[in-house]
Amino acid sequence: MNIFKKTILTVLASLFIIGNVSAEKIKIGTEGAYPPWNSKDASGNLIGFEVELAQELCTIMKYECTIVEQDWDGMIPALVMRKFDAIMAGMSITAERQKTITFSQGYADEVASLAVMKGSSLEGIETPEGINLSLGGSDVKKALKTLTGALAGKTVCTQTGTIHQNFLESGDVGSVNVRTYKTQDEVNLDLTSGRCDVALAAAVAFTDYADKSGKPVVLVGPTFSGGAFGNGVGVGIRQASDSAIGKRDAKILKDFNKAINKARKQGIISKLAIKHFGFDASM
């Protein structure tokens, strides 16, 4: 009888404990309009590299995650206002954003590029294949000078609030006529319509669009990295504070960093990157 009682008590106790150690529940915000990083399928479900990576990281962290959609231009304010707890939206780690939020270590990086419609006068510009703005040097200077000349008087289109807009307004390529859009889809539409002479975004955003739409969009000029283009894409998280809720944010950041390490070692990030980008964009 005694043993029977004990067994029941133990089982009940263990149930109670398991019940209490329920997984942390978090919401992850993504844009759903920046393929192949994140996008939506025909029936409106979120898909893409970051959606799958988020699921993998959550499994590693033993978190219960819900992925929610948020327009790009309200992404950081929505995080700060606690509409969700983390951003995974192809958001590069930049000093400007770090004034407001914090980032995990980078999980992927990918270069930016200019794109034009086939037949554009910009197609022939001679520049190195890629330039890293953080490295500087005479090659970079020369390439920027060539671009300044080529972009003068052209309408350059890009998405609002991106590293690409920051670069175009930094003065590195002179004072160009920048036109900004709410989504990359709209940039693509106006590039094909001819309202934009040239557009700037992640190189894959254009190649992905060219593949899917069959439109003759071609990359021109060098690929860009470093400087205004930030230090890779990481998980955006609220800055920690001393309050209980602030401590939770700090824990989420720590867990994401650990999970990214683990996913990197197991080759999960590389595998997903190759699947979605066609090359290994992991970092």
Binding site: T160, G161, E186, L189, D190
Partner: protein
């Protein structure tokens, strides 16, 4: 609350208000002409003309302004043939696309406002004019139109205010109007509350001015 940001963003937003006012005045001007034309067409006895005018106002009052802007800006931009015609010179510019959309939209509402104003004119007034031997043309221009304008002032004042707020949609087609610049400032500061409060204040002030001008006109042209 970041009051410094509110103060520093105020002059930038005020500068953008000029774009908003330009969009508003251009579309109200063209919209009034179109509205008057279609109000007259609505009063026409020929069924085809009447239905055509009704169809126009039905379509533009029955669909959201945002959808109309998107169709004119992104939709027409996708038609390859159109891009080879002279129309593309106008449609290529977001500014003109916005004005076309706003004009067609406000024109539809204005035509309804004016039509109902014409219809409320008592037949006795027109008959009085006729009995004095005044020609139909003069009755229309000197009697019907002034009375219709007076009748439609309260409703048209509302339409001006609605259109003023509607111009904020210009920011969706890359224009840097008041809302566009507000969004731009937010994209670098990530502080929507402060910036939108200032922008909202400017919109409210414009409403205040429009409201009072209309009130003054109503009083000035009242029949009493």
């Amino acid at each position: 609350m970041d009051f410094d940001l509110m103060i520093t963003s105020f002059p930038k937003l005020l500068g953008a208000t000029a774009v908003t006012l330009k969009l508003l005045s251009a579309s109200l001007f063209f919209g009034l002409l179109i509205g008057l034309l279609f109000a007259i067409l609505r009063l026409n006895k020929k069924i085809f003309i009447n239905k055509f005018a009704y169809g126009y106002s039905y379509i533009f009052r029955g669909t959201p302004l945002l959808v109309q802007i998107f169709i004119i800006y992104f939709g027409l931009g996708q038609i390859e043939y159109l891009r080879t015609t002279f129309l593309w010179v106008i449609l290529k510019e977001p500014y003109w696309c916005a004005i076309i959309a706003f004009t067609l939209n406000t024109g539809a509402y204005t035509s309804e406002i004016l039509r109902s104003a014409f219809q409320t004119i008592k037949p006795g007034i027109i008959e009085a004019g006729k009995s004095l031997g005044i020609s139909n043309k003069i009755i229309f221009y000197k009697i019907q139109i002034p009375i219709a304008i007076r009748q439609s002032l309260p409703a048209y004042g509302n339409e001006i205010i609605l259109m003023m707020k509607g111009t904020s949609l210009a920011s969706t087609v890359t224009l840097m109007d008041l809302t566009g610049v507000a969004k731009y400032i937010i994209s670098t500061t990530f502080k929507p509350i402060e910036v939108f409060i200032v922008a909202g204040g400017i919109y409210l002030f414009m409403t205040f001015i429009i409201h009072n001008v209309i009130k003054y006109l109503e009083k000035k042209y009242s029949f009493q």
